[in-house]
């Protein structure tokens, strides 16, 4: 009907959500003020509150977006190609996501650290995707393609290996002698993690 108006609204809402994710990622739900979100979004606090129903709701919206992406990262990878292709593909996706959207990863980690109370409902679909992947891993192990392994722990380990470069970006840059504006080398990181995992799963 009024595509312009709706568009405009969506644009502002998008800007707000983006700003919110950045703030929540750094300071968590409690530590973030609506004022700081408004500042980052370039609007007044009053206007922010016109577009959102509350700080908590905005936070949940951000979480929803992230959990969606999280699940997507498992999808579209065929396990039929065998463990090597599957894992390197998945690792590459996750590293790219961590380096391109570090705030989303950090927000998720922050939520988890503060108890994960808001994840409870949202976690279900992610858990399902994770369990499917775990089943594949177990099968590979049974077929002798990889060594015996606890599949859940393996997935957690891959998770942490890939996500840390969002969380620790600053320290990683510092240790590697990069400036704050120089990006981490995505290829090198992906390569290193992939090698560690694939090698680490070979049969002894």
């Amino acid at each position: 009907m009024r595509p312009d108006l709706a568009n405009r609204r969506n644009k502002i809402r998008g800007k707000i959500l983006e700003a919110a994710i950045l703030e929540f990622a750094d300071y968590g739900l409690r530590g973030t003020s609506t004022q700081s979100i408004a500042d980052r979004a370039g609007i007044s606090k009053t206007r922010l509150h016109y577009y959102i129903s509350g700080k908590d709701e905005l936070y949940l919206e951000a979480l929803d977006k992230i959990m969606g992406t999280w699940t997507e990262l498992f999808e579209g990878i065929s396990p039929d190609k065998g463990p090597e292709d599957f894992l390197s593909d998945y690792i590459a996706r996750k590293v790219r996501y961590s380096l391109e959207q570090p705030a989303e990863v950090k927000l998720f980690v922050s939520e988890v650290m503060s108890g994960g109370k808001h994840l409870q409902d949202r976690w279900a679909s992610s858990k399902a995707a994770m369990l499917r992947a775990a089943a594949h891993i177990e099968e590979w192990s049974d077929r002798g393609l990889i060594r015996p392994v606890n599949p859940i722990l393996l997935l957690f380990n891959i998770w942490s290996l890939t996500e840390q470069y969002a969380v620790m970006a600053g320290e990683a840059r510092y240790m590697m002698g990069l400036n704050n504006d120089e990006p981490l080398d995505s290829e090198v990181i992906t390569q290193e993690i992939t090698t560690l995992v694939i090698n680490g799963l070979r049969i002894a």
Copy 2:
């Protein structure tokens, strides 16, 4: 007489620091109120402020304690025994620390995520310890004991592998079907990570 007073004071200060670490770990510096710290320590807010000089100072004290432990974890491990012993020893220490003191690890991660501004000075000695370890790794690689590897990335990877079980304890328990009060199996986790890393560093 006097020792009793000092003891008493140290006891309560310890209780406060402990409570503070737990709160800061979950909600960060900004998201933590002195009221919540007082509540957790079982004292009144006024009494809390009698024992501390300020929220920020308490936070820094917590950080200092953690950074000290962090550096210690590198120490006392002889690199002469070769990579396998060194790495499995280090991994075991870090996993145990993460499972026994998850709040300290989480607080550190929280600080890093919010910019790491308070780490700047405190990071130096940790960096030195890390660089020493990196030198050993490089040497092992040169001597053909392990495959070629970026030593800094390897250390970061070990870091994340071991620390995630503090950060993600809740989710890990959930995925593994454990109740909130059932501890994660330290041995299984250590074994899995150690195998992954040692295997992953073998020469192809």
Copy 3:
């Protein structure tokens, strides 16, 4: 529309500044609470803080206003008319100001008594005005229109003579048998001070 808003804002800001000056005049910067300012302005403390940026800033704003008036009192008086006209004019102005705006004078005295730290920058223009007046006095003395006199001390003396009726209003009323709501007789005071000074400067 807009002018109304701005007007409204200015009105309430004026009310606040007025209340602040009254409180600061009586109790100084430290001794005044924002609560008491709010009470006197007839608004809530929260609302007060909506209109000001802080207690200190409000205090500085009050000081600025006063220092401006202070300098103005020197201006517009021509020294060409000779010492008698100049001095009686200046004395009359200052007495009137002290009796009409005693709070402003008291606030200034309070600031001076507590060290005058906030005056440092603001004092410059007032000092210049004072030095100009001192130059005139010296010239009159040189030309034999008045007796030899230390011009700076003379100005300080006039200053104290005229300002004391703001500071000591209560005691003056008490000694002269006036009630609290009966004003001091501006004319008598002006006359007495003027006579003392003009007479006191005659050549012996």
Copy 4:
């Protein structure tokens, strides 16, 4: 009985009173904290409160001391010697007092500015002394030794002339190009004020 003990107590109490006067002089009753008094006296806050019955009582004690001195300054000067001797004697005493005990003068002014509520009872004897002096002045005027003058206003004027050099010491030093540690020239000031007053009272 235990002169040592009593002595010791008096010594500490003296130190406290001195410190209190200095703080009250700068920041008033409300603006002064018992902590700052304790700090200046070089004792702990707890110990301070052991020696005093309360902040208000300490303030009143300081006021009492000052009012006593205030009255004394009138005494011991014989009005028989005529106006010139009497006034120059009184002015000299008051200037010396203002320069030597500026804190006491400032504390008195501060009390007056904040309403003088604590003076009410204490003012009586001072008022009497003042009225006696006023009577002398009136008599001198009647006898033609000085010009007709409002005696109360004259006394207030002398009061302000002499006391301002306690209140405005900092500004006076600044205007006269003195450093903070250089004392004002008592003789010059006394001379200037005396001349102004004696001259100013001559019959036209």
